[in-house]
Symmetry: C2
Subunit: 233 residues, 2 copies
DNA sequence: TAGTGGTCTAGACCACTGA
DNA sequence: CAGTGGTCTAGACCACTAG
């Protein structure tokens, strides 16, 4: 893959921040493809915040993946941990069949009222300390069951490799809320502390919803990195 | 613009969530362009989270802009307020020449140590209540001056329309921190309260940095909406 | 089978940068 | 001026979906 090759060259400083990539025509020659094909790859790198194209000059490297790791990408906790090289642990606290509690999420998703789900509650540790409470509501209509063993590893991995379901996108919302009794207990917080709450819906490539989730983070451990491009009008 | 036209049709429910757009070939006919041109537009809508393409079936509408307005887009506060139709006010608290305080931002940007900037501190009100403290450090080398009048309106508007500088992208980081004395005073908080802090760097289309900024939000008013797509491997 | 999106091509013309 | 990226085209072949 051309994308993967350029990506690794950027991440490994073959092309450093501030450098220009070879021109589109040159890259087309080098990889033996047409210029439009190269442009599609460069476009992806642009969106990811790795390069900036300068008209008449070339494509300049402006970032790497390793520099802002725990980014806003759609990655599972397991994947992020692995990339970030952190000492991480997951403990499954609860796993049971349930109905989707309709008060938990936006009123918008009325289609899923009382839908049967597998409810998972997991506690994430960083350096032996609990930092995140993860709750997942996996729709049984899409994924009938989630083995306890898999839940302790990676949900995404289970969906994609064992169930052959392709995760495509997610909508998430970040807010800050006062810690509940349960938050305090599980994350070792005090009554006046707050947690960062991320609620979201995850969907597949065929646009079916597969799960709703809520992630409650210790505020002092929370960090969210974002890259945004301006809409050009 | 084809992009704008499809966008407005999605936002105005001409194509509703769950509907399929006309096929790529049909759209190419309708707009009198080639299919590849249509595909580029649909690709942008896909990235924005408005449609999902289903192989062999078509492009389904999965979201609108109005449904998740204050998104992770790169927009100024003035622009977001306008779109969201909020009763908003901005008060300029301070504006002076300064040197970029090197302790404020990542150690990475060493190029800018002690660079001359225009420092702005603004307080944002929502429904008469102060909710955000915005600090900007505008590089004088790129934008020599920022009139007080413009600062009270929109910085982005001033950059783009008066200075003819094109904003291209920004890197931002969200954290939660305990409120400083100044936070408490300006945002009417108590000593044990926290604020959501967004720090960022804004760059132009020619990859020059134009400003650093820090945005301190009342935690109870903070909300961040994100759409993320899974990298396909 | 016909229709859909996924990918790629070879070529054209433009606007912009820099020497 | 030559070289760069920006945009668009007309056509090809593929894999997938549905009837």
């Amino acid at each position: 893959m051309i994308h993967a090759d350029l990506l690794s060259k950027i991440n490994n400083d073959v092309y450093q921040i501030g450098d220009f990539l070879p021109s589109e025509n040159r890259l087309a020659q080098l990889y033996g493809v047409s210029r439009e094909t190269i442009r599609k790859v460069l476009n992806e790198l642009t969106i990811s915040g790795l390069i900036q194209k300068l008209k008449g000059k070339g494509s300049m490297v402006i970032g790497t993946q390793r520099s802002d790791l725990p980014a806003s990408k759609l990655m599972s906790y397991a994947e992020i941990s692995q990339k970030a090289d952190l000492a991480v642990q997951t403990r499954l606290l609860e796993r049971r069949d349930a109905a989707l509690p309709d008060f938990v999420f936006d009123s918008l998703n009325t289609d899923f009222r009382q839908a049967p789900v597998t409810y998972l509650c997991r506690l994430r540790y960083l350096d032996e300390r609990p930092v995140i409470i993860d709750r997942n509501y996996v729709l049984k209509s899409v994924c009938p069951d989630v083995p306890a063993g898999e839940a302790e590893k990676s949900l995404f991995h289970y969906f994609e490799h064992d169930c052959h379901l392709q995760i495509a996108y997610a909508k998430r919302q970040i807010t800050v809320e006062t810690a509940t009794k349960e938050d305090q207990q599980l994350l070792n917080l005090h009554s006046q502390d707050v947690v960062v709450v991320i609620r979201g819906v995850t969907s597949l490539t065929d646009a079916r919803v597969i799960e709703f989730n809520e992630s409650r983070h210790r505020a002092d451990q929370f960090r969210f990195v974002d890259f945004a491009r301006r809409e050009r009008n």
